[in-house]
Subunit: 321 residues, 2 copies
């Protein structure tokens, strides 16, 4: 009998559900808007309805369990959303119990942080196949990260490990959403790129960047900054250069702390690889210890938006339960 896992990516914008088999092949997908502002009960109904739609395709005994990835701090033992910036109102929500009270009652349900499951997805089917010591950084609006050591996810005492976006890379740096100053996330995320670009638009009305976004500075996107940089605009290039250097400072610290085999970079910002990575590499060569620096491979993610779904499925396939 061929088993599948129902994998869930519960994000602030969309609920995505997929049936994934033990080879990591996605057999069926469903997507719903999250509409978190409608409240917990409504989000839960949408999630269960999406799960049902996928479930109906597979007879009951083919389902091995349910794996869920969520942005936020998760109590993985209790299956509770401790704290989530994207799902406001869900702090303390006992998601596993709620799902277990639905038609899924007899199935194994595992819940983990989205960056953690993405790291596991890359290890299973992506840039980290066969790698036991791996760090996966997701460079988006924020910077998420998942850390795998000895082939296992590192959760820490509260399921909060892997918040590498909140390494301090410049003690006097800009304010981060977390309350700290100079976090990696405040200096190397899409948010950082946009902040620097808005500042640059003001200072450099003659720039190529300004031509691409002439009216409302707030309308600037990382894509516009990237295209300007590709076109040779020095103002835009400097933004990626700085972002790349701070990323390198953060990665060098991670390398010195954990001596990983591979660091995987995913998320929207990673698509600007050619513009930031040379500077990232330069900082790593300067700041990481020689042996681990020579060892580590730094590679782009390959699973894209499916990394989290794949990793959530992997956790259920490989759970001891």
């Amino acid at each position: 009998m061929k088993l599948v896992v129902l994998a869930v990516d519960l994000g602030g914008t969309n609920i995505r559900v997929a049936a994934i088999n033990e080879h990591g092949t996605i057999k069926k997908r469903v997507q719903r808007p999250t509409l978190a502002h409608d409240g917990e009960a409504s989000v839960l109904r949408s999630l269960i309805s999406a799960l049902e739609e996928v479930y109906q395709v597979f007879p009951e005994k083919q389902i091995k369990g349910v794996g869920v990835g969520i942005a936020g701090a998760i109590d993985i033992e209790k299956g509770i959303i401790t704290q989530s910036p994207n799902l406001r109102g869900f702090d303390g929500y006992p998601l596993r119990d709620k799902l277990q009270a639905s038609f899924l009652k007899d199935l194994t349900i595992m819940i983990d942080n989205d960056a953690n499951v993405a790291a596991m997805g890359e290890k299973w089917k992506g840039a980290g196949i066969g790698v036991n010591d791996l760090i996966c950084l997701t460079l988006g609006t924020g910077i998420g990260s998942g850390i795998i050591i000895h082939g296992m996810l590192v959760h820490g005492a509260d399921g909060m490990a892997g918040e590498a976006g909140h390494i301090t890379v410049d003690p006097q740096g800009p304010q981060c959403n977390c309350g700290n100053r100079g976090c990696l996330e405040a200096l190397a995320s899409a948010t950082a790129i946009r902040r620097e670009a808005i500042e640059a638009l003001r200072k450099h009305p003659e720039s190529e960047l300004h031509k691409r976004c002439p009216h409302d500075p707030e309308a600037i996107t990382t894509e516009m900054v990237y295209q300007s940089a590709r076109a040779g605009d020095q103002v835009a290039r400097k933004i990626f250069q700085d972002m790349g250097r701070y990323l390198g400072i953060g990665i060098a610290s991670l390398i010195n702390i954990l001596n990983p085999e591979t660091v995987v970079l995913g998320g929207g910002v990673s698509k600007s690889w050619d513009m930031f990575f040379p500077f990232t590499k330069e900082e790593i060569q300067m700041r990481a210890l020689k042996i681990p620096a020579a060892r580590v491979k730094i590679v782009p993610a390959v699973c894209g938006d499916d990394a989290g779904l794949l990793g959530a499925a992997y956790l259920v396939f490989h759970s001891a339960i």
Copy 2:
């Protein structure tokens, strides 16, 4: 039959050997000067003679194995000293094979980094009893660290993990011995305290610090800086304040990355706890995420110089071999 492990602390100054039983009681100790400049063969002879002296006290069948802690990068699988700053000339030295070729040939021999075994010693018999996620920082001339996750030491791909002394805490900071700038070690070790004190002696001839070290600035010790600070000298206090803040920046990053239950601070500098720790704590509260910051206990080491011997013994008692 009561088993003991022969535990070794192979340092740049002394070779220390002890017999330790399964309860962590030290039954017999021996010490020899390392005299590393006499060459590998001579150091090996001293080490084997120290081991023999302890061995003779216990009949052969009482010895479970040999555990060795060494400052430097260790290939734990092969038992090779990859690179050691304190034992020059030993890079690439196959210590386990050399010991196995001696009278110890039938015994399990395990070799690991000194900061790693110290962390394990604190977990077994010191400040980390019962703790599964633990970081131990040794604040001495440099800053060593050992990381324990899920109850196991983190070695990384080359046995180089746990070099938390080389987190960048200030990208523009002073040069570190490793080649990087602004490492935690360059800003929060005894070396950093002495560097700042030498600078302060020049700038503040009126200070209490200067009274304690009036002639040769190079003669300054961390103990003099500490005593001046205790006596109320603002110049000396500022040195511990800055050192404490940088330590806090580094620990906050470690907390955000690993969400440990406990951080243990050992080494000579940790004895100045009352002078630096209030500032360390302040930075951690500002920079670490709320849940892991509320969770973590930051405590002084309790095993002192024996932490490494105890940890080396623990590794052998709990090895699968």
